[in-house]
Symmetry: C2
């Protein structure tokens, strides 16, 4: 039976790669890489570097599958929905063709996923779509060190407070409101630093960008006090790299100090 | 300068150990292990096995520090608070004596933490207490694969739904109420399967025990339907091992299927 391995390679630092992931990298015959324009290209190169580092001899082929274009400016909600469905279908069609072309009936294919495959990543769903569409394969998921754990490790802080709860959410959701019922919130996929809305509140921030890479940036402190620094280093970095990938923890009104 | 490394060794499976953790394990001269009675002893043996596997030659010493006894039956809230403070102080005193006895002024000590050190673990706070108490040392944190990511990888599921939020909480909190504003909830530290309260609701569960170990147990499905199975295998396992460590994700009223 053909196998597809969804491999979490950790949040940036090659040191975050697990022993299980290294074993998986060595087993894979072909890695399928959706090649997107823009920031993703840097991440694609970083993925290649990880394969090269851990599989120096006879690494699996890197098979680039161009991500289909997507209508980013649909006329209305129905058109948006239709555009997403068409894009997903076309992506699955291209991937299936690549997989069936590259892997024999007992071949092992791989997908390299930044961080952990469970967190704000579409690869698991994409593979499920492939299987639902009739591709014959087993699949498994190799857990990785996510950006959440990279962030807290680099800041040397616990994620939760004693017996407390933590919410992981998106910038878009934070922009609507502070999540109900929690004082500790990890924000991901936030291209607008929505935490600005809480700069006058009793909130600490632990911010990190390009976590685990040589370009890593860390800022922490009272949100109202360090926000200008975060805005400054973030803008400079975005200028330099052309993109920024950051994550932060907001901790409101400390309870257990 | 003396250094203390807080090393996440992943949630059970030696394959979850990262390259950075292996490097840290090889550098450490003495691992300080708080030896607790009960379930923790199995976990202590599992930690020893990981050190043995990754540092077969000249591994760091394992230095066992008996966890001080703690008054588990205080008369009232003030007595409870005082008991916790006394226990923490005594633990720090014992650890400091062990560290100063075992490590030279440039020595490297380590703490082995199950999963990731940021998630429901007291080691980071304990080390901060040591430093606040005057122990001279640098410290760092090595991120690990947490039980949350082990759970989702073994079930091959995303943690969040598309653009959704996830809350990580405790059994005690879930017993009070379903968390406000989220439909996806990871429950940890739940010795009573508090999810029973939601068995009649439109909820799926992804449950795992002894994750990453040869004794791993996984059950998933409609909560109301699979709860009897979870209760049964959990009771059997607790009988066999004398303890159980489990985690689960509750997913309410699917949104994006």
């Amino acid at each position: 039976m053909r196998r597809l391995r969804i491999i979490g390679i950790g949040a940036g630092d090659p040191g975050f790669v697990t022993v299980e992931a290294v074993e998986a990298l060595r087993e894979v015959e072909a890695f399928f890489v959706l090649d997107k324009p823009g920031p993703a290209s840097d991440l694609t190169r970083a993925r290649e570097a990880i394969v090269d580092r851990f599989v120096p001899d006879d690494p699996g082929r890197l098979v680039y599958v161009p991500d289909p274009p997507r209508d980013r400016d649909p006329a209305d909600a129905a058109a948006y929905e239709a555009a997403v469905v068409a894009w997903r279908d076309e992506r699955v069609r291209r991937l299936r063709a690549a997989i069936e072309g590259e892997l024999g009936p007992d071949g092992v294919g791989g997908f390299l996923v930044w961080g952990d495959p469970s967190l704000y990543d579409g690869t698991i769903r994409m593979v499920e779509d492939l299987l639902a569409g009739g591709l014959e394969a087993d699949h498994d998921v190799v857990a990785g060190v996510s950006a959440v754990h990279a962030l807290t490790a680099r800041h040397r802080i616990p994620l939760n407070r004693v017996a407390g709860a933590v919410q992981i959410t998106t910038g878009r959701r934070l922009a609507q409101a502070w999540p109900d019922g929690v004082d500790d919130v990890v924000v991901m996929l936030d291209s607008h630093l929505e935490c600005r809305a809480y700069a006058d509140d009793d909130v600490d921030v632990y911010w990190g960008a390009y976590l685990g890479t040589p370009d890593e940036l860390l800022v922490s402190g009272r949100l109202g006090e360090v926000l200008p620094e975060i805005e400054r280093v973030r803008a400079q970095a975005r200028e330099r790299h052309g993109w920024v990938m950051d994550t932060y923890l907001l901790r409101r009104a400390p309870l257990d100090v």
